[in-house]
């Protein structure tokens, strides 16, 4: 994996799998939930991302099931995938921390004071 920032969809897919293995449609609904409905993955985008993640060995096939006559393939996060996700989360967290602390110190009046307050 390079040092390049991860795409949001990829980040959310890995996050969805961090809690346990899931099948394709499960990932889509979970990603929508994690992002509060903001990111609605389409099937094509999901499988392109999964293909890349499998190639990079960040994600692996866990098991297969037949439900209502349809094939469900479950994916799980690999140890390498967990490492990459943790590194990306740490990177994002550092950015978020820097942004919030500077906003707090800045003279600009925020339209949403709730973002600058709190425990960040």
């Amino acid at each position: 994996m390079t040092q390049r920032a991860m795409q949001e969809a990829t980040f959310l897919i890995l996050t969805a799998l961090a809690a346990g293995s899931q099948h394709g449609y499960g990932i889509i609904t979970d990603v929508a939930e994690i992002s509060s409905g903001r990111v609605r993955l389409r099937a094509g985008t999901l499988y392109t991302a999964l293909d890349r993640l499998r190639e990079g060995e960040l994600v692996a096939v866990d098991r297969e099931e037949i439900v209502d006559g349809r094939l469900r393939r479950y994916y799980r996060l690999t140890p390498k995938g967990a490492d990459v996700l943790a590194a990306e989360a740490a990177r994002l967290q550092a950015n978020v921390g820097a942004a919030l602390s500077r906003l707090k110190a800045s003279a600009v009046v925020l339209a949403r004071p709730d973002l600058a307050g709190g425990t960040a």
């Binding site: 099948h23 394709g24 449609y25 889509i28 389409r42 099937a43 094509g44 985008t45 999901l46 499988y47 392109t48 293909d51 190639e55 349809r70 094939l71 469900r72 393939r73």
Partner: protein, 352 residues
């Protein structure tokens, strides 16, 4: 139920945008996801959903077509190459034997030469010892490589090289492109054998697609051979493109010129490259082009400089034109493949 059957049919049609290798493994799975995401009573894929499936499918086709990052890595391509080199030389040799073309009679050419050959290629080649050694040596190399005996293969390559040079030096019976190709094949084969990891994967890697590439390359060599002889009925594209008589041997007939070869080679290269992308064999085909490069260089030179022979060993410039570009390219590819392989071995000590 009929609604969902129509929807399923629609989605299946859209999934046709994906490459076969993907569909074989994941079509049913992705179909299930698409069906699960459809709203109740929906009987036709949504526009945005359809666009996403088509865009992703075509994107995956491009990605798996050997464009970066390809499905067939350099190490795999080199492994196929080590088997393809002898197969290509044998294929060209067999084409020479199987597809002779009769040369025009004396009256048609306009001058008398009682010693001129009656045909180019044909069964008579089998009576030429150097031809038999060249083709037979490559058959032996192919068998040893197939058995996975790489060290033995290297020894056979060395022996075949020695035999080939001795036979060729004492006998001018090998057709020229075959002679250049044979000389090109042995060092390239040796280099590929040195770098590829041991194992017997070539057999499984060499699928029908690579076979198509191999046959196309052998055909390209054959086409270049036929075009190189102005007496051949196949020489017209090069003659039409450039009709200056430069050969000391056949002044009566217009000779093909260098521009003709360049144009014809570009057309061939474009056709092969197009097929390579469609059939996902771009890296492999690039290596085949490397193998065929000396043939093209020799043919261009023989037309440009009145039968100049680039195989003349005592001219450093000739050798550089013949061997330097392919050897440099191959060396670069091998260093790249070797470092990638070592990375893979370090990362997965057990499975590599």
């Amino acid at each position: 139920m009929t609604e969902s059957a129509g929807l399923e049919r629609g989605y299946r049609r859209l999934l046709g945008a994906y490459p076969l290798s993907f569909r074989r493994e994941q079509e049913e799975e992705m179909l299930a996801v698409l069906m699960a995401g459809a709203s109740p009573g929906q009987c036709w894929p949504g526009l945005a959903e359809a666009a996403d499936v088509i865009r992703s499918g075509l994107g995956m086709r491009l990605r798996r077509a050997g464009l970066p990052p390809g499905s067939l890595g350099w190490a795999d391509a080199l492994m196929v190459f080590s088997l393809a080199v002898p197969l290509l030389v044998v294929a060209v040799g067999l084409l020479d034997v199987a597809l002779p073309y009769p040369l025009p009679r004396v009256s048609e050419v306009g001058f008398r030469d009682p010693y001129a050959p009656r045909e180019f290629g044909g069964l008579s080649l089998l009576h030429v010892p150097s031809f038999d050694i060249a083709v037979g040596g490559q058959v032996l190399i192919a068998v040893v490589v197939l058995l996975g005996l790489r060290r033995v293969a290297l020894a056979v390559v060395a022996a075949a090289a020695a035999g080939f040079w001795i036979a060729a030096a004492n006998n001018a019976g090998i057709p020229e492109p075959m002679w250049v190709l044979g000389a090109a094949a042995l060092p390239l084969e040796a280099l590929a054998l040195i770098v590829v990891p041991s194992g017997r994967r070539d057999r499984w890697l060499l699928r029908w697609r690579e076979g198509v590439g191999l046959l196309l390359a052998a055909g390209a060599v054959q086409v270049l051979t036929l075009m190189s002889d102005a007496r051949s009925p196949f020489a017209w594209p090069t003659i039409v493109l450039q009709s200056t008589a430069t050969s000391a041997h056949f002044k009566i007939l217009p000779q093909p010129g260098i521009e003709g070869y360049v144009a014809a080679t570009l057309v061939l290269a474009a056709a092969v490259a197009g097929l390579a992308v469609t059939l996902k064999i771009s890296r492999f085909v690039l290596l085949l082009v490397v193998l065929c490069y000396p043939v093209v260089a020799q043919l261009v030179a023989s037309v440009r400089y009145e039968h100049a022979d680039l195989m003349d060993f005592f001219r450093a410039g000739n050798l550089a034109v013949l061997w330097l570009p392919p050897l440099l390219l191959l060396a670069g590819i091998m260093i790249h493949a070797y470092t990638r392989l070592r990375e893979r071995v370090v990362r997965q000590p057990g499975s590599a």
